[in-house]
């Protein structure tokens, strides 16, 4: 388990796992959480600015979170928020996505001794290395026991 002390600024953590985006899941997540034509309707999506179905931001946020969890486990106590969720290139059916995380800020918590506040920038890329989605996640982590 990675504790607060194990996450210094500059630490880069690529994750070996990849995530295959399917048309079925784009549509399912779109219908469930973000029912816009370019997520749910193949023909309407073809006529949209994207020229075809693209994954919703909710879907990409989920994929990034899930891939991030497949790296070394972290002693997260509570999320403190996310900044700057950005859509870069669209994610389309058949894309294979991977995530890389970089620690961009780290400090001991003032209010909760023995814990620390860490900000991680997560980047989701496709099989061509293009940046698809990114955000910064700030969370409270437990310090190393003892």
């Amino acid at each position: 388990v990675r504790y607060f002390e194990d996450m210094p600024v500059g630490l880069v953590e690529p994750v070996d796992a990849t995530y295959l985006v399917t048309e079925a899941e784009i549509v399912e997540m779109g219908e469930r959480w973000d029912p816009q034509p370019f997520h749910t309707d193949r023909e309407a999506a073809a006529a949209s600015i994207f020229g075809g179905l693209v994954a919703s931001s909710v879907h990409l946020f989920g994929i990034t979170a899930r891939l991030g969890m497949q790296g070394r486990p972290k002693a997260a106590v509570s999320s403190l928020g996310f900044r700057d969720l950005q859509n870069h290139a669209p994610a389309r059916p058949g894309d294979e996505l991977s995530v890389s995380s970089t620690v961009v800020a780290s400090r001991p918590s003032q209010s909760r001794p023995g814990t620390g506040v860490v900000t991680i920038r997560a980047e989701l890329r496709n099989q061509h290395g293009e940046l698809v989605f990114s955000f910064e996640n700030t969370a409270l982590y437990a310090g190393r026991p003892g």
Copy 2:
């Protein structure tokens, strides 16, 4: 349909619909996208800082997006990103959530004539009126036709 010109700064759009958070869906969304004990394991969650199961940020992001879509339809062309996703009070099984949206910025697009860039602050509240989750969403909207 609400076009760019129909979304001036200060426009507040409450949505009539509410969303019931269930334990089953907290666990399902947690296992699928954010497998941390306070989202997936009732006993471990009881021992966590939250004292019980709480909805993941992916889940709350989805609920906010979906409730937002149940207001008057908007002529969205493309998302330009989200800022400041914040967890305020936790969302627990049985909570009934509602959303309210406020336009906080609006300008014509420089690069795409006939469209505009609008930033909306979305606030998700529970049945007690407590703020649960919030973010700002910037997107490109089509202008009124003709």
